[in-house]
């Protein structure tokens, strides 16, 4: 049993209190430790990634208690891929936060950042549904602090909405877990997979309710229409680097959906038939349409990016709801792309904001450093809308290709292609108003723009865009890894047998004779 798999959870969990207790008044020390922690996380995640890329499934039994009684962490291709993505994203977001000085505008940015990473990593690695709930809460409570970092009335107000919506979602999650436990008597995912299959056709009412409730919870996290209302204000009002980190939070919902609905309620399970094609697919298509129309309708640049994120989550959900290995592989490719592209866009919005009077889409005098910022915006917008040559194009192509054999293929293609066109129009309008029309406005002499952006901030955005380029250039390798991941997800037997058959403390009867 390797202990490395718990390191992505333990490392930030140790660093965060250390930063609060020992380095509270020294922003320099906080920055050094936070950066060192994230770099170490990337190293750990990369080595785990190499280990699992041949199909190995890593298991960690907490306290050496065997599943289903003990809690287990499981690292397969999907989990470790998401962990690596989070760690890499965190590095660039952290660089930006340091470069732009955001971390110094309020208290405890780095500690909350580490707690947030701990929650996200734990949610990706855990093999137990109740533990997933706990890690969701860790992630959320850190995100509440980050969301209102640096204060301000608008931000607090958006924060209230965000917190209340998520509290409701957590309550719903508990209801779902309660009904699952009442039906099956377990909350370990592998054990649930075995037991959900054993439920007879005449007693499926409870398990159906539980499956739908769980789907609703993950749909809230993933901002699926009509449960997306929390996202636009909170992402738009959150500090730039925090919104960029939140780009991975919607993906936690998508990850949980992929995990639960391939492992516990696989597509061929009679009980939950119709959940994907009757309910999830139309909602996902609606999300794509609404997100992209929102891009066109937005009056402010930050809202525009928030709606672009909703639209891209819709794309991911369309691919997931196909529930075929090709669909899941395409969804995973698109998840990586949309996390990086969304984060880059939020950071660019923050760059614009730091130099501009407001983010309203009206012509204002040109800003310092506009040439570089507009080039970055141009590249990120190409990626987000899915124009060639960047990975958004490849991702959409994969999703369209995966939908080829689906009965609703005409609808899916039409919605995706039309909404992409709308998004392109929306982004070009925003870009030209913000960056080009500025040239036509006479400069007010008093309001000489002062550039506060640090080279490090540009490095962070450039790094994210470079990753997008790498994701497109090495698209073949990425795609073959995603296909292998999807194949592993649709063959859950090794996962189940490793989790349930690995022995732990007191597993052998003679050791527990004298109870």
């Amino acid at each position: 049993m390797t202990h490395w798999i718990i390191a992505p959870v333990v490392l930030p969990a140790m660093l965060a209190p250390f930063i609060v207790l020992a380095a509270r008044y020294h922003i320099g020390i906080q920055r050094v430790f936070s950066l060192a922690g994230v770099v170490a996380l990337i190293a750990i995640a990369a080595s785990l990634f190499v280990t699992v890329s041949d199909g190995t499934i890593l298991l960690y039994q907490l306290g050496d208690w065997a599943a289903p009684f003990g809690i287990v962490l499981v690292g397969d291709r999907l989990s470790v891929l998401m962990v690596l993505l989070t760690a890499v994203l965190a590095l660039f977001v952290l660089l930006y936060a340091i470069g732009s000085g955001w971390d110094d505008r309020g208290w405890h940015f780095h500690a909350l950042f580490q707690f947030q990473l701990m929650g996200i990593m734990g949610a990706f690695l855990t093999g137990d549904l109740f533990n997933l709930f706990v890690f969701f809460e860790v992630m959320l409570i850190a995100s509440y602090g980050l969301m209102i970092h640096a204060g301000g009335n608008d931000r607090l107000r958006a924060g209230v909405q965000y917190v209340l919506y998520n509290l409701l979602a957590s309550t719903l999650f508990l209801f779902a877990l309660g009904s699952l436990y009442a039906e099956t008597g377990t909350l370990n995912m592998a054990d649930l997979a075995v037991r959900a299959d054993m439920i007879g056709a005449d007693a499926t009412v409870g398990i159906r309710v539980a499956a739908v409730l769980l789907l609703l919870v993950f749909a809230v996290k993933a901002a699926l229409v009509p449960l997306h209302f929390w996202l636009p204000s909170s992402y738009a009002e959150a500090p730039g680097p925090v919104a960029a980190l939140f780009a991975i939070m919607t993906k936690v919902g998508a990850y949980a959906m992929i995990r639960v609905y391939t492992l516990i309620f696989p597509p061929d399970l009679e009980t939950t038939a119709g959940l994907y094609d009757v309910w999830l697919l139309p909602a996902a298509l609606l999300t794509v349409a609404l997100g992209m129309i929102g891009v066109l309708a937005a009056k402010k640049l930050d809202r525009l990016v928030a709606f672009a994120v909703i639209g891209s989550m819709g794309m991911v959900m369309v691919a997931i709801s196909l529930m075929t290995p090709e669909g899941i592989a395409a969804a995973l490719y698109y998840i990586v792309h949309s996390t990086l592209a969304g984060a880059a866009l939020f950071l660019i919005v923050d760059l614009v904001k730091s130099n501009r009077a407001s983010l309203n889409l009206t012509a204002l005098p040109p800003v310092a450093g506009a040439a570089l910022t507009s080039a970055l915006f141009f590249a990120a917008a190409i990626a987000m809308t899915g124009l060639p040559p960047l990975s958004g194009f490849l991702g959409k192509l994969l999703i369209l290709d995966a939908a080829r054999d689906h009965t609703m293929n005409v609808t899916i293609w039409a919605v995706i292609l039309c909404s992409s066109l709308i998004a392109i129009v929306g982004f070009s309008r925003a870009g030209s108003v913000v960056f080009w029309k500025a040239k036509g406005v006479t400069m007010d002499e008093q309001a000489e723009p002062t550039s506060s952006a640090n080279p490090l901030a540009y490095v962070a955005v450039g790094g994210l865009l470079a990753l997008l380029v790498a994701h497109s250039v090495l698209g073949g390798y990425a795609q073959s890894f995603m296909t292998a991941t999807a194949a592993q997800l649709f063959e859950p037997e090794p996962y189940i047998s490793i989790v349930l058959e690995t022995e732990g403390k007191l597993s052998t009867p003679d050791a527990s004779e004298d109870h």
């Binding site: 109740f130 706990v134 409570i141 309550t171 309660g178």
Partner: protein, 115 residues
Amino acid sequence: MEVLVASAVGILTAAGMYLVMRLRTFPVIMGISLLTYAVNVFLFASGRLTIGSAPILRDGVDVYADPVPQALVLTAIVISFGMTAVVVMISLGAYLGTNNDSVDDPTETDQEGEA
């Protein structure tokens, strides 16, 4: 007993949902508290309702209370307590800053007034 517990969960949930839809921070927080009470009772009941039965393996006992939901409820109570404290603080901050305690997005006129 089942009817009593089930109707308690139902009434608490209904009252909680009603309060949440008032869209003012105080009723909404009250509503969320009621909802967490409801879900805690619900989690308890998910391990089947028994009276006076042993939670730990013992000789000569046939009926056991399921200990897992009790552990789950404890975790859920702690988490919801912390979360409620956080949301009270944040909404107090928002209320004192804007002198407005509505939960939904500010309307156009509100925004112009602030700007």
